[in-house]
């Protein structure tokens, strides 16, 4: 049996982590770095949750942003209009105000609405074998984007809200194609840290439970899993609902940080999350976390070059030092990746190109290279805890290894 901490240790660590981020790290970071750290945290929640579907069960969802947007708009609308009604103003109040209670309720509600949407989308498409899920999730995100553009215009005062006719409230007044602005900006490093911690804990405990094992068995061999008594459809749907819930939570954090537009439901963001999961190594929570942080920071850095080699280097060192097998290949891969990014950056500077415009291209290149050179991703399916356990190279990684196995035909 792996080492089991008493179950209350992790929640305490999570709170300590969030408190440390807000009151110790934030003063040291400065405003820009704080924003990047929050975006990275939101990306971690997104990547770790998508990993439950794409990594654990081996399904392929490419519409995660849809659930993100559902959570964002739901939670944002709740906090915004509740604040208008109660305080006649959407201004953000302090952490210790009653607005925080509304924020938490809105976040949970955003997660639940996203989860419900996940259930509605997942149930029919996950019954079928094959790539239906990819098609359906992709389509769902695009449909949602169009639907969000058709919503009513935002109401800016309590009086407007009271005077509004039914036709102005349905479809909901969340700004249409203009976007939804002025949601109280109550998200901070404490909340982001807290929800990142909760997401990681739930994803971890799920993976280590009989349910998570069965989900991974579905990825490994669906026919065998079903024949061993695993209710494959039900577990796939559960994985999808879990993932959608946390995508909704990430959306809520985002809504309380910046303004929303219908684009947030679209393919570009979904693609970002898929990249993070694939780059991290399908099924690895550690990998998804590192890749999410890396992609976010790298994206910022392409926009405005600063020194993020520290982060690149740190992750490379973790990967190469802690995991005993395949060190040389990993080192070569990392060196190549760094050289590529650095090369692109120098060229961009030379030709005075704004790389922020081209980040999708750069990410796509990174993704393609990863698929070719390291199909297992950053971590394969290893977790950081594998390095802490006995150094037995034959030991199976936590929850199985790389995807990319062809699916099999029936028995």
């Amino acid at each position: 049996m792996p080492l089991l901490m008493p179950r209350w240790v992790a929640p305490i660590l999570i709170v300590a982590f969030a408190v440390g981020l807000q009151w110790v790290a934030r003063p040291l970071l400065g405003q820009y770095a704080e924003r990047v750290a929050m975006d990275a945290g939101i990306a971690v929640v997104l990547a770790v949750s998508l990993n439950i579907v794409n990594g654990y069960t081996g399904q392929f969802s490419i519409g995660h942003a849809a659930f993100f947007a559902i959570g964002a708009y739901t939670a944002g609308a709740v906090t915004y209009y509740a604040s208008l009604l109660i305080w006649n103003s959407p201004v953000a109040m302090g952490l210790w105000s009653s607005q925080s209670v509304i924020f938490i309720a809105a976040t949970i509600l955003g997660g639940l609405v996203a989860a419900a949407a996940g259930w509605l989308i997942g149930l029919p498409s996950l019954r079928l074998r094959g790539d239906y899920l990819a098609i359906v999730t992709l389509g769902f995100g695009e449909i949602l984007r169009v639907l969000l553009q058709q919503t009513n215009k935002q109401l800016y005062t309590r009086e407007e809200l009271h005077a509004a006719k039914l036709g102005e409230l349905i479809p909901p007044p969340i700004g249409g194609s203009l976007g939804f602005i002025n949601v109280p900006k109550v998200a901070n490093l404490f909340w982001v840290g807290l929800f990142v911690g909760i997401t990681l804990l739930v994803a971890w405990r799920l993976k280590k439970s009989t349910f998570g094992r069965s989900m991974i068995a579905i990825r490994e061999n669906e026919i065998a899993a079903e024949s061993m008594g695993v209710n494959v459809t039900r577990l796939k749907v559960w994985a999808f609902v879990f993932a959608a819930f946390f995508a909704g939570v990430a959306g809520s954090l985002y809504a309380h940080e910046v303004q929303l537009t219908p684009q947030d439901a679209g393919f570009l963001r979904s693609f970002d999350v898929v990249i993070m999961v694939v780059l991290g190594g399908l099924g690895s929570i550690t990998g998804a976390t590192l890749a999410a942080a890396l992609v976010t920071v790298a994206g910022e850095w392409l926009r405005e070059p600063t020194h993020v080699w520290h982060l690149f280097g740190l992750i490379a060192i973790i990967r190469i030092l802690f995991w005993p097998t395949g060190r040389l290949k990993a080192a070569i891969w990392w060196a190549g990746l760094i050289a590529l990014v650095e090369g692109v950056r120098s060229l961009a500077i030379h030709y005075q190109v704004d790389l922020g415009e081209y980040r999708m291209i750069v990410f796509a290149l990174v993704l393609i290279l990863t698929m070719i050179l390291r199909p297992g991703g950053l971590m394969g399916t290893h977790e950081i805890t594998d390095a802490l356990r006995l150094r037995n190279p034959k030991r199976a990684p936590t929850g199985g290894a790389a995807a990319g196995e062809p699916t099999e035909v029936p028995a």
Binding site: N221, S227, M228, G229, V230, A396, P397, A411
Partner: protein
């Protein structure tokens, strides 16, 4: 008395091909029966019909009198039919012990919430699953490799792990699809004693598909021979070996007639 497993006249067609056509057999508790026939005779398809991978066009399947038709594969496993596969289908990247633990999932009582919050019940259940699986691995001589990836096992060990995994579902009936395929003579001898041991140690009846006549004839009380989807003979091993229809069916498949 109703038999433990009563397969009555089942059949299925793929396009024009009647892969299984009116197959019947009965299994009693503690039974060990063989299902043999040339390649493509419909044996694996028969297992697929019994375990809910396909739904029979005709006939019915009853376990202790309860009809299994229309149940999905995982429900049939829960009812008490577990199988192995002709081509090994382990969960290759999961550890050996986790392969068995997956098979324990169907008898677990914990809820998802219980698992996430690590309730006392789910922790106790997780622990008893661990004990059960390691005990099972011990009986199969695989305990030393419990924490290695299943894909790293030798071929013969993988086949044995598949049998152990099927047993971890607590079946009433164990369906083994060519467990000796690809094994060397030494491994086949071990397999024979393993199957005998499973029958003695676990409350199961076994239905065995096997090409190796030595294994089948040495183990089985009763044998059903199929060819082109139809039963062509049923009886004790000695009768089967003398049956002219069986000998004819196997002509042109020399490696089996010589065995």
């Amino acid at each position: 008395m109703t038999p433990l497993l009563n397969v009555n006249n089942i059949g299925i067609a793929f396009g024009g091909l009647r892969a299984v056509d009116g197959l019947s057999l009965q299994l009693e508790p503690g039974d060990l029966q063989g299902l043999i026939g040339p390649n493509g005779a419909g044996k694996t398809t028969c297992f697929n019909l019994l375990t809910g991978v396909y739904r029979p066009d005709t006939g019915d399947v009853r376990l202790s009198g309860e009809c299994l038709l229309g149940l999905r594969a995982h429900q049939i496993t829960r009812a008490g039919l577990a199988r192995t596969f002709q081509n090994v289908r382990l969960f290759p990247h999961l550890s050996v012990v986790d392969n068995l633990k997956v098979a324990c999932h169907l008898r677990t009582g914990q809820t998802l919430a219980g698992a996430i919050f690590r309730s006392a019940f789910s922790r106790r259940e997780e622990q008893s699953i661990d004990h059960k699986c390691r005990d099972l691995l011990d009986r199969f001589g695989l305990l030393a490799r419990a924490d290695e990836a299943a894909s790293g096992l030798a071929y013969g060990d993988q086949r044995r792990l598949e049998i152990a995994r099927a047993l971890a579902t607590d079946p009433k009936i164990l369906l083994l699809d060519e467990p000796a395929a690809g094994m060397n003579p030494q491994e086949k001898v071990e397999l024979k004693s393993l199957i005998a041991k499973v029958l003695a140690d676990f409350p199961v009846a076994i239905l065995l598909i096997e090409h190796d006549m030595d294994v089948v004839m040495g183990l089985c009380r009763q044998i059903t021979v199929v060819d082109h989807g139809c039963v062509i003979a049923t009886g004790a091993p000695a009768e089967i070996q003398r049956d002219p229809k069986v000998i004819e069916a196997y002509l042109g498949v020399p490696e089996e007639t010589s065995a």
